[in-house]
Amino acid sequence: MSDKRELLKTEGLRFAYSSATVLDEINLTLLPGDLVALLGPNGSGKTTLLKLLCGILTPRAGRVMWDGSDMANLRRREVAQRIAFVPQELTVPFAFTVSEIISLGRTPYARMLLGETKQDRAAVERATDLTGTRDLVDRYFGDLSGGERQRAVIAMALAQVAPGSGQPAHEHPAVLLLDEPTVHLDINHQIEVLELIHSLNRSYGLSVLATMHDLNLASMYFDRIILLNAGSIVAQGTPVQVLSRERIESVYGTDVVVEGHPTCRNTPQVILLPTNGNGREKAISS
């Protein structure tokens, strides 16, 4: 993609719940087609940062810029038409079907007292196809497994930021923010969901920023990593640049070894070292 306009950019972002500062001096930029993982220990402010980026939370200081303009000056629904948020877990009271859930993604396009447009339906259809949720549409959202649920919510997010029918993606740049998309999932579903996110990024130019707790999956699937610690960015760059042994040990306070992935290039893998004697013995004896 030739144009490298800055879709999402934060300038000196600061946030605090009541008195405790959660994020401070956050400066980051998301370009069209970016695929970025946000890493950091629990409580480092990952989720809070995502919520600031899509306007769920309002910064205490600094600002979030969307495509060159201060998000505080944009209408909420304009922002929602470009930035979708996939929460860690979505719960819905009452028995909504999957197709009803995906259609809720069109909320920012709703016209008062009027029904869905042709474009709304097209966006929902396309999101359904892209996420492979066609078989799920008539099932109740509450009955889905974790992996199916995650795909349905990603479909809702896609419907939310979908460009109008036939409009190429680079004329309607959009950002997907995902909060721990693989948490609570089995390894097969972790791979499935990350492959889906990866292909949406590669085939349709969707910019992605996802918080991750699994360093190795982040290294395998994401082009760039931003590492947070105690509310500040401590490193950002490619997985090779960010995931060094020294840095992980200092941020997470855990002994690790970092090695190359046996089959993927430029994909460091973090191997944990046990800290107590028993663990080590077991490792040696087996």
Binding site: K51, C54, G55, I56, R75, R76, R77, E78, V79, A80, Q81, I83, A84, F85, P87, L90, T91, V92, P93, F94, A95, F96, T97, E100, L104, G105, T107, P108, A110, M112, L113, G115, E116, Y140, G142, D143, Q160
Partner: protein, 342 residues
């Protein structure tokens, strides 16, 4: 959303049939053809059909129709308010009375019953006015208590509603104990009953409820988003706090207007939205208008039963709604294909 037009048309026809039936039945039964002609005569001045006696005309136009219409708009208002509160609070056991409306209305009505004043304003006695102001005031109070800065979190709202309701119930109990002679009237009022005395009261309450329903209809998409939680609603482009206040205010207006002419009719606002949801699904864009129509049908029928069963004396409306509504709801819960999972 499946076939909204067909669903709403069917309910509209059913409502018209219910109105005819309820106006026709009573201690004196009146042919339905006469009812239609009398209505046409009073609205357009054109005389078709007949002949009917003056007594029949008085019964239909002065007695039964205002009462049926009163039951209808109260039912519609309470059912719509139930949809609003259940959606906003994401709580299946929420009803229009949850956030202090019933306590506020009851306390204010009790005070009004104790006052030596009998006259009111706008053609109303003091009790309905007090009930309306009490219900609306209670919700605003609860909202103020729950507000932290610019936010009013749902959990805090629920807790504040509970606290305010308890306080007002205690105040009401105290007033009732110290004024035993009005005890029975207060108790009867809290059990509910349509007391629309002719068209005058309806001319005030009707437009209020209609405005509330229209306002609610414009917010059904927002209500859907609220079902996903406040964060997700914000991510979908809703201005959460502003919309929340509008939804609360609309629900309170509908509830206050309803209890002003019906007292505390229970069960309609809780059960009608659930019954409709089991039949057509939880999408608020269809659920809200369908619930309003169904609430009207339900309460007209309940009021018909209330005045027929022990005729010429009446059963309190709230007793009928519970007796009819609860078993039907249990039946639906057990047989529905649309599984009730949360």
């Amino acid at each position: 959303m499946r076939k909204p037009f067909i669903t709403l048309s069917a309910l509209g026809i059913l409502l018209a049939a219910t109105v005819l039936l309820a106006t026709s039945l009573g201690t004196v039964s009146i042919p339905m053809g006469h009812i239609a002609s009398i209505v046409v005569k009073h609205i357009t001045g054109v005389n078709i059909g007949g002949p009917w006696s003056d007594t029949q005309e008085t019964i239909v136009w002065q007695l039964r129709l205002p009462r049926v219409a009163g039951a209808g708009i109260v039912g519609a208002a309470l059912a719509a308010a139930g949809v609003l509160f259940q959606g906003l609070l994401r709580n299946p056991i929420a009803d229009p009375y949850l956030l202090g409306t019933s306590g506020g209305a009851a306390l204010a009505a009790t005070i009004a019953l104790l006052l030596p004043v009998t006259s009111g304003a706008f053609g109303f006695t003091l009790v309905p006015i007090a009930a309306f102001v009490g219900a609306l005031g209670a919700v605003l109070l609860v909202y103020q208590i729950a507000r932290v800065g610019s936010r009013a979190p749902i959990t805090t709202l629920l807790l504040a509603g509970f606290a305010a309701s308890s306080l007002m119930a205690a105040a009401m109990s105290f007033l009732m104990l110290t004024n035993q002679n009005t005890l029975q009237r207060v108790v009867l009022w809290t059990m509910g009953g349509i007391s629309a005395s002719g068209w005058d009261t309806l001319k005030v309450i009707g437009p209020l409820i209609l405005a509330g329903l229209l306002c609610a209809l414009t917010m059904t998409t927002d209500l859907n988003a609220f079902l996903l939680g406040e964060d997700q609603a914000a991510a979908l482009g809703i201005s959460v706090e502003g919309r929340k206040f509008m939804l609360l205010a609309t629900g309170a207006l509908l509830t206050g207007a309803a209890v002003a002419i019906s007292g505390l009719v229970g069960f309609v606002g809780l059960i009608v939205p659930h019954i409709v949801r089991l039949l057509i699904g939880p999408d608020n864009r269809l659920l809200l208008p369908a619930s309003a129509l169904s609430g009207a049908i339900f309460l007209i029928l309940a009021d018909l039963i209330a005045r027929m069963v022990l005729s010429p004396s009446e059963v309190p409306l709230g007793v009928v709604t519970a007796f009819v509504g609860a078993p039907f709801f249990i039946y639906l819960l057990r047989r529905t294909k649309r599984e009730y999972t949360f």
